[in-house]
Symmetry: C2
Subunit: 468 residues, 2 copies
């Protein structure tokens, strides 16, 4: 007799008391995971089948961290002092470069491994690495040009997080400069190099590693190189990322050099499409938002880093209304929790606009601020990382976050308000388990390789900061 219940037929069955399926909590959810760690089926309203693994709490899909510079994790908390009259993005960058100039491939691996375990604890299951630290400390090429890229991929494998490596094109120090600064020597790159690095990662055929391309920013690459990369990207599969309009000085310099604002220039001179993701996009006009919307490109917002660097607040109402794909990134890694990012994305708007629940849209049936931001970031993050299917849907990778329903902030909260309470009322990390591709990476709130990751990180930190 054929088995008529497809949810009971295949390799691995997981059962959750509740799960966030297509924008709402559903009860008694059975997730069928195939041997490749993909979801074969998502069934709701079903008792746990015999042999199913019972997940110990309500389940959310994993979140994509759409913007990361892993090496900056070693610098988190070490630039929160001011020596002179003014400290801003640019003075921060000078200090950050001092770390960038020192990190070895072994240190990068150790830093990224710890960082990625922290990301998993914070509910990220895929990270987009915006990677520009290509060469050796003196600017010379490594014997294998992919040395640093592969250190990041190896770190992701060791932590068990998915990675989308985005090798970055970086060619000049500013709009009016032809070359890099001496302290940018490790970033030097051609379109050919970044294509090669991207291909190397894709050639691994790893279920957890993929690659795209990136341009550091319009100030860091001449128009022809950006356009050449855009052209070549059309023949590749992965996403294309670019830092843009993070700083007002960058907007001013672009205007002076080209007569156009950065997003204006990009939308006019590059054939943007859904594979392009604009990182920060903080300083915009309504016309620029409309241009991005028409192009199909997405936007990556990094609230905690943008706050730390004093970048400013993006036009969140404008981006939300435009239906632009939105994702979030931890960028400099002051925070490694998407809960923090969504909370302060909304709070920044409340402070600026002096009203509440800015991201909610009751007129569209989207009354919950948290649910709207979460669903938009889930979908936008998937696009930014190059996934066609993501979340608790058939064909997506089985990436799951299991909530501790007894965590402070969730305890006693009615099911209907759980996502609101998670985003706005929890302090500590509230995930008890995190699964990636059907494998458990976090148990009882702790990463399964926490001990090794910490030891390696502490060693790298001692080497890097011996003089402090």
């Amino acid at each position: 007799m054929p088995d008529l219940n497809p949810c009971a037929a295949d390799p691995r069955l997981l059962w959750a008391p509740q799960a966030w399926v297509q924008g709402q909590w559903r009860s008694d959810v059975v997730l069928t995971v195939d041997v490749n760690g993909q979801l074969l089926e998502v069934c709701t309203g079903m008792a746990a089948p015999p042999g199913a693994t019972r997940l110990p709490g309500p389940v959310l899909p994993g979140m994509v961290n759409a913007h990361s510079h892993a090496f900056q994790r070693a610098f988190a908390g070490l630039a929160e002092r001011r020596s002179g009259e003014r400290d801003d993005f640019w003075s921060w960058r000078d200090r950050m470069y001092a770390v960038a100039l020192r990190v070895t491939p072994e240190q990068l691996h150790a830093i990224a491994t710890q960082l990625y375990t922290e990301m998993l604890r914070g509910g990220y299951t895929q990270v987009c690495e915006f990677h520009y630290l290509h060469h050796d400390a003196d600017g010379s090429r490594y014997a294998d040009p992919a040395e640093m890229s592969l250190a990041l991929v190896q770190a992701a494998q060791d932590a068990g997080i998915g990675i989308t490596l985005l090798p970055v094109l970086y060619q000049r120090a500013g709009f009016t400069q032809a070359t890099l600064r001496e302290d940018q020597r490790r970033f030097a790159s051609t379109v050919e190099l970044v294509r090669t690095l991207s291909s190397r990662v894709n050639a691994l055929m790893s279920p957890l590693a993929r690659a795209g391309l990136a341009v550091h920013s319009l100030r860091a690459a001449p128009a022809e190189a950006v356009q050449e990369l855009a052209l070549q990207a059309r023949f590749l599969d992965g996403p294309v990322h670019i830092h843009i309009a993070e700083q007002t000085a960058e907007v001013d310099d672009c205007l002076a050099a080209t007569g156009l604002r950065p997003i204006e220039w990009l939308a006019r001179h590059v054939p943007l499409d859904h594979r392009w993701h604009l990182v920060h996009a903080t300083h915009t006009t309504p016309g620029e938002i409309e241009a991005v919307r028409r192009s199909g490109a997405g936007v990556v917002i990094c609230p905690s880093t943008e706050a730390n660097l004093g970048d400013g607040l993006c036009d969140l109402p404008g981006w939300l209304a435009s239906d632009t794909p939105l994702s979030i990134g931890s960028d400099s890694h002051m925070s490694r929790s998407w809960v923090d990012e969504l909370r302060w994305l909304e709070y920044g708007q409340r402070l600026a606009l002096r009203r509440r629940n800015v991201a909610a849209a009751p007129e569209l049936g989207l009354a919950s601020t948290a649910a709207r931001l979460f669903d938009r970031s889930i979908a936008g993050g998937a696009a930014a990382a190059g996934f066609e299917r993501w979340g608790l849907v058939e064909g997506a990778r089985a990436d799951l976050l299991v909530l501790d329903a007894d965590a402070p902030g969730l305890l006693g909260v009615p099911d209907s308000h759980r996502l609101d309470a998670l985003v706005f009322a929890t302090n500590a990390l509230a995930f008890t388990e995190v699964w990636v591709a059907g494998q458990r990476r976090l148990e009882q709130g702790l990463h399964i390789r926490q001990r090794e990751a910490r030891a390696g990180f502490a060693h790298a930190m001692r080497e890097l900061w011996a003089e402090l």
Copy 2:
């Protein structure tokens, strides 16, 4: 032979590898605690004496939470939706009142007990309860008028946190109203009532409970009542708190009713002194800041609540430069972590001013943003809670926070930068032990009565939110 080493002579000795003593990390610190839980002596550079308890990490002094409405904890995460065109402080308040009208003394005790265990986890060891929920749900008096006040004090005792109860004078619905709204009936109070409630708490002679007085706001009490309370406060020991200038509408209403802005009015018509603490003080002019500075009064900032409610950002540079005592409060309890509050106090300023390390003052030798905010909040918080001595100094209560130096964000950070990293780079709660009055309340990051507190809270939440 007399014992010549005072640190080895008395009842309890604690030893810490490092401790934050008078604004800096000191190594090998011996804390002598007397039988009343007070610090008899703080010695640095000393090996652990025989029999001393070795604290498992670097030690900070406990933080005062200078503004709390405990019952609002039951509401955290349940107002993050919008139904109409606009949501703001006032629409939030209407929904908050619905909870205020329902809470029983038993529920208040359960909610506050859980809240206070969460505060201890977040590094607060003393809480100022701004308490206006005086009467029964229908507005009638409880047989004991101190019923609700004592429920809060009992909760603090059960959790083992210090409490400064501030019974609140609340008499009218607004500047132009003579009486309360129907849904404010539980708040009705006279100067005599709040004095009585304050005396009742002080009469307990508890080492962990003390009391002061409060006025809800200028809109909630007529001038004569505010002045009478101010007069009577001169004969009492405790602090006096008032909500002020949180909302622009309140500033406008005060101007319309009196011709003066709220802080202007208060400074002109009330003999402010160091016992007064102005809660929020968000919307100010330089003249108002100068008037507060001259008076000696302090200011209580509540960054996470002010963000949640869309109140706006205070003039932090102005307050810091004026040397006004500053403290922080968790207020509506969306966050129960002072680390969160200090981080976002600074980040809000960075976003608004587009520069970094706003709170640092290298010209005064205060280069670290975190250290300046921490030391100011420690000192201002002590004043707000009515303590003359606070911190790791002789004569202060032995309230200690023991850091987990291996927590993500602290791991591998050089000692010199530990406080910076705590405030800016940790995500989860990073305290492994918390001591109040020489007693351990938190062990391995968990409150010693966590289980009972959670059960009581969950029960109260089920009763309160049965309909959701």
